[in-house]
Symmetry: D2
Subunit: 259 residues, 4 copies
Amino acid sequence: MAYCIDLNSDVGESFGVYRLGMDDEVLKYVTSANIACGYHAGDPLVMERTVEIALKNGVAIGAHPGYPDIMGFGRRDLKATPAEVKAYVKYQIGALYAFAVSKGTRIQHVKVHGAMYNMAAKDYGLARAIAEAILEVDSQMIMLAPAGSQMISAAEDVGITAAEEFFADRAYKEDGTLVPREVAGAVIEDEDVALKRVIRMLQSGRVETITGKDISIKANSICVHGDNPKALELIKKIRDGLEKNNIKVVPLSQFVSMI
Amino acid sequence: MAYCIDLNSDVGESFGVYRLGMDDEVLKYVTSANIACGYHAGDPLVMERTVEIALKNGVAIGAHPGYPDIMGFGRRDLKATPAEVKAYVKYQIGALYAFAVSKGTRIQHVKVHGAMYNMAAKDYGLARAIAEAILEVDSQMIMLAPAGSQMISAAEDVGITAAEEFFADRAYKEDGTLVPREVAGAVIEDEDVALKRVIRMLQSGRVETITGKDISIKANSICVHGDNPKALELIKKIRDGLEKNNIKVVPLSQFVSMI
Amino acid sequence: MAYCIDLNSDVGESFGVYRLGMDDEVLKYVTSANIACGYHAGDPLVMERTVEIALKNGVAIGAHPGYPDIMGFGRRDLKATPAEVKAYVKYQIGALYAFAVSKGTRIQHVKVHGAMYNMAAKDYGLARAIAEAILEVDSQMIMLAPAGSQMISAAEDVGITAAEEFFADRAYKEDGTLVPREVAGAVIEDEDVALKRVIRMLQSGRVETITGKDISIKANSICVHGDNPKALELIKKIRDGLEKNNIKVVPLSQFVSMI
Amino acid sequence: MAYCIDLNSDVGESFGVYRLGMDDEVLKYVTSANIACGYHAGDPLVMERTVEIALKNGVAIGAHPGYPDIMGFGRRDLKATPAEVKAYVKYQIGALYAFAVSKGTRIQHVKVHGAMYNMAAKDYGLARAIAEAILEVDSQMIMLAPAGSQMISAAEDVGITAAEEFFADRAYKEDGTLVPREVAGAVIEDEDVALKRVIRMLQSGRVETITGKDISIKANSICVHGDNPKALELIKKIRDGLEKNNIKVVPLSQFVSMI
C-alpha cells in the first residue's frame, strides 16, 4: 500500500531590507509553501518572489495570514473579533491570489500564522471565521490546521476540505496537543527519532505521547521549519527517509480529498 | 444618438475608528466605486462593508490602490521603483478581489490614488508598471486614468482597456491637464457651469480651457467627490442633469469597449 | 474647607487626514489633557498642535500611550510582555516630551490608553512595567489610573505619585470597578445625577454602587469625554457645577501631592 | 599638534524578529552611534538595548530619524512638507531621549537617515526644519551632516552646533559631494587607500577628488558601516590606523566646539 504525505513550511517572511529564513533552500524540499501575506511578515515584492521560487520548484502555493502586527511577528495574542479575523484572512488570501494568478497558478491551501493559529485552534468562533473566509473566497482551497483542533471542526461544518498537520520535532500530550516549548522534552532533538515518529504515524496512525501512551493521529502534512541550517538538515533527512520508506512526498491537493 | 457616461467616486476611505466620506449617500448616485485597499486608507472591514453597499446600489466595484502611507493618505510623492509599484498594485487589487468574489462579483476597474495617480500620469515607467499589474491579475479589468496621460498610453501598449475620466469641477489647461488647485479659477464653484461643461464634453467632445481656447476631450467617466454635503449636491445635480439630457449614467463595463 | 479636582480628557486622537474628537472645545474646560502618542492614534503634527492648544488654554500636558494598533485604536487586548509594554510606554512618553519641551513645558502625567489601561488595571506585571517606565523617564510625572487598581499599587511600590480617577457618567460595582458598558444601567445618562455623584464623592468620599450600596472612593481627577456635542455638554455642566459648589478645578500637579 | 576625530555608524536597525547589522561588534570601535528611532527601522526594545550597548562601550548616543517607511527602510524620497519633517524629527528624537535619560545619559547628536539625509543635504527648507527641530528639543545636541551641505548652513543659521562627516570609502566630486554609487570608482575598495585619505584629510584638510584635483574638506567625524564582516574590518583598520598616527578617536562632544 502506498502512502502520501505533504511537507509544509512557512516562507516569504522577509520584509523590506530584512531577510529571514532560507527560502531558496527550503523550497527545494517541501511540497507546500505557507507564504506570509504582509500582515505579520512579508511584503508585495517578497510575496511575488516567493511565489516564483515555489513554482520553479513545483511547490504548491499557500496563504499564511496573520494578525496585523509586524513588530510582534504575529506571535502575540490580539483580541480581534471573529468578524475582524474573517476580514483579515480574506484580505491576505486575496493579496496572495494576485501574485498566484499572475504566474498562472492558484492557492492550494490556507494555514493561519502564529497567535492566530494558536487561538483559533482552541476557539471555535475564530476557527469558524477563518473557515468561512476560505469558503467565501475560494471553496476549493484546503485549510491546513492542527490535528483535532477547532479549525478542523469548523472546516467540516462550513464544508471546506481540511488537512491535518503533524509536527515532526515536537512532543505531544495525550489530548493530541503539543507539549509547550518551555516543558522539558517538548522539542525532539534527535533527527532519527523525529523521522521514525513520522513514519510510524503514517503507517500505523499512532504517535507515542510524552507520557509514553499511544494516541491516534492521521496527518496529511508534516510541518517543518527553515530558519537555520540545522532545521534545513532535518527537512532533508525527513524527505529522504520518507522516500526510502516508499512514502510519496507530494502537495496536499494531490491526495488530500482521498482521505 | 444615445450617449453613455459613468460617474466614479473614491469611497471606502474610512480606517479603524476613523470615519471619512459620505459613502452611503454617494453610492446612491455614482456608477463606479473606487474602493481604497488598505495602503493609504481603508481596512478589511471597511472594504467588505463598502463592497456590500456598492452592490446593494448596483455600483460597479473598482480597486483604488495607493502608496503605503496612511499617515499621508497616499498624497505624498514616494519614489518607489516601478517593480515596487507593480507589486503594490497587484497586492491591493488582490485584497479587494477577495471581498468582491465573496459577494459573487468581480472588479470592474482599477484607478490608482493620489500621488501614485499624479506621478504615473506623467511617468511612463510607473504607468507601465500599473498597466502590467492589471494585465497580469485580470486582463478584463479596465484602467481608469486621466485623459491623455501616460497611463492611457501604457494601457494601450500592454493591451488592456482604458477609460478616460473628466473632472466636472476643475479647469483644464490647453495641454489637457488640470489647472493646479492653487491657481485662481482652478476649481469651478458654479454647479450649473460644471454640469454644462460635462454635457458639452459628452455631446461635442470639446472643453473650454482656462485660457478660453477649446480642446478636445472624450471621457468615459466623470470623477466626483463625496467628502462633504456640498460635494454630494454636485453629484446629484450632475446625475440629474445628465439624465434630463438623455445621457445614460451606467457603469464603465456596460459601454466602454464600444468606444 | 476647600476641595480641588482635576478634569482629564483624551485628546489628540486625530491621525493624518482623519479627524476625531472636539479638541478645541474640550480643551477649554478640562485641566489635564491625555495626548495620544502615535501608537494607537495621533501623529507628530497632531501631537504638536494638541500641545499648543492645551498650553494656550492652561491645560496640563499628559502622555496617553497605547498598544501599537492604529487599526484597532489600541482597544484590543494585545499580549505584549511587560518588557515590551515598558519600552512602548517610554518611547511614547519621550515622543510627547519632545513637543512639550519645544513649547517650554513638561509632561505632568501619564495615563495609558484603552486595552493597555484595562489590562494593566488588573495585571500587576503590566502595571509595574508602566510605573517603572514613568519612574525611569521622569520620576516627577504623575500616573493617572483607576482608583484601587494594580497600577495604583505599582506606582506606590516604585515610588512615583499616583492620582486616581473617577468616571462621572459610569456606574460602579461594589468592588470599586466599573460596571461593563453592556450591562443595563452602566452609563449614567442623566447629567444632573452624574454631577451630584461627583460632588458627593468629593465631599464625602462615597459613591453609591449599582446595587445601591455605598463604597469609598477618593479620586483626584474626573475623566470626561469629548467625542460628541452631548459629551461636551456634560463636561461644561460638571465644570460649572463644581465651581458653583466651591470646588477648585485645577490641574493635578497643583494639589495631588497634598493628598 | 593633536588631532581629534569621531567615528560614527548607524546602529539599532533591527526590528521585531528581524536582525540587521553587527551592533555588538561595531559599538566596540566607533565613538558615536546613530540609533534608528522606529520610523524607518528600530523598535522600542531595540532602541533600549542599543542605548545600553553603546553606553557599556563608552559610545555617545545619537538620534537617527528617518521617514515613516519601514517597508522601504527610509531610503525612498518622500515628499513630506518641512512642517511634517520637523515634527517627525522631534518625535523620533524624543522617543530616543526617553531611553537615553532612563540610563542616565543624554543625546549627543542627531544625524538624519537615508532619503531624508540626501534630500535635506540639498534642500534648505528641509534642512532648516531639521535644524529647528534640534534647536527646539535640545539646543545642545550637535547636528551631524555632510560637509558643505544645506544642513550645515541651516545649523549655522538657527544657531546649533554642526559637525561635518567624511566618508572614508567613497570618492568625492570637485563640488565636495559624493560620487554616486553607480559610477565606476565611487566606492574605494582598498582599505589602505581609504585610511590614507582619512589621515590626509585630517592633517592637511585636503581630499583628492575622482578627477584628480584636490579639494578642501575639514570633517569632524568619519562615517563607517557595520553591515558585514568586511565593513567591520575597515572600521578596525581605520581606528587602528588613526591611533597609530596619534589621532585621538573620541566622541564629537569632546572636541567639536573647539573647531
